[in-house]
Subunit: 212 residues, 2 copies
């Protein structure tokens, strides 16, 4: 499991020519990192009496983020598994016409799974981003930069996930499917950009970094 | 050491109210992730005969990236250590006027170290980004999305590092120092945005994701 690797080992395997992990796992990892940073901001707000007023707003967000971080951390491995299925399908025998057909079908199925996995990652990240604005605005201002960094990670994770959907769509022959997925990519790209940029701009302003 | 923690443990500590790791360590981690993804693209190019023509261009880049990844991975811990020094300085006694002066000076010194650490991270990331264009354009096009994800990580790492410089500058009284640092932040922000966006746009185009 990638989740139980050390950071050093994960980086070393990532840098190697091993087929996994790749960009799809890094997308999920960035989603989990962004989620964790927002949770840290909440921990340093829910623990302090002087922010008592916002506790009722922030407590349910904390519970939601905990669940989303677990899904995102798990998606680091889910993505690698999906990619391994693609590699296996490409290695199937193609000696007879029957084998060729079976291989083609297996590749198409595997590519769809490999596109669905980063789509799920992108959707989890979207859910986290919908909560990020409240965390940044109502959370402890001493850790506002951490909320901003969280948003930067979530945006990188979103962009990474969408690129990983797109690269798999390239090999999928089902046009109705790819058409639908492209609509989804467009929606998630716009949402991600809008939500993450708002939090990053808020954080930058709060810590004295002018907007360009 | 944070580098030798598992990803699960790192995420758990990050999400907690423990003072470290925080956004500064995540900045360095994203730099290391981006670097590793570019190295992966190189590994899958330098190993394949059909890309033989670009090997001489890419081999020296690989050596450079290996060194930069090591620096960035180490910066995950360096940042946490610098932040711990700030926390320690704030906890110094302030009973007598002498103690007050000593504490103030220790805080100022610690805050400068805490600003220099993400500045070093930002500079390493800048060096990686200067190599990213060649990796994306000359590397194996089958893993173009990984180069794009790498650039997204590097951009997030850069933004994260700059926010972490800025939040420390807030407490530093030496105006000549903060003025100089702000010039540096502006330069690195523009460079990061320019270099990363170019690679991401190139990758998006190559994998069929239209630019908005």
């Amino acid at each position: 499991m990638l989740r139980t690797k050390t950071i050093d080992d994960f980086l070393k395997t990532l840098a190697s020519d091993a087929p996994t992990p790749g960009g799809g796992s890094v997308a999920a990892l960035n989603g989990a990192l962004g989620c964790a940073l927002l949770e840290m901001v909440l921990d340093l707000t829910l623990g302090k009496e002087k922010f008592k007023e916002v506790w009722p707003d922030l407590e349910p967000i904390k519970t939601e983020l905990e669940g989303l971080r677990e899904e995102l951390a798990d998606s680091i491995d889910r993505d690698a598994k999906a990619y391994d299925t693609v590699t296996a399908a490409f290695k199937m025998p193609k000696g007879t016409p029957e084998e060729k057909t079976a291989r083609k079908e297996a590749i198409q199925t595997a590519l769809k799974t490999a596109a669905e996995t980063p789509k799920a990652t992108a959707r989890y990240i979207h859910q986290v981003l919908k909560l990020a604005g409240d965390v940044a605005e109502k959370g402890n201002p001493n850790v506002l930069s951490d909320a901003g960094v969280g948003a930067a990670c979530l945006l990188a994770g979103m962009e990474a996930a969408l690129m990983n959907i797109a690269i798999n769509l390239g090999g999928i022959k089902d046009e109705a499917y790819t058409h639908q997925m492209k609509i989804e990519i467009d929606f998630l790209a716009k949402e991600g950009e809008k939500l993450a940029s708002a939090v990053m701009a808020y954080a930058r302003k709060g810590i004295g970094l002018e907007e360009e």
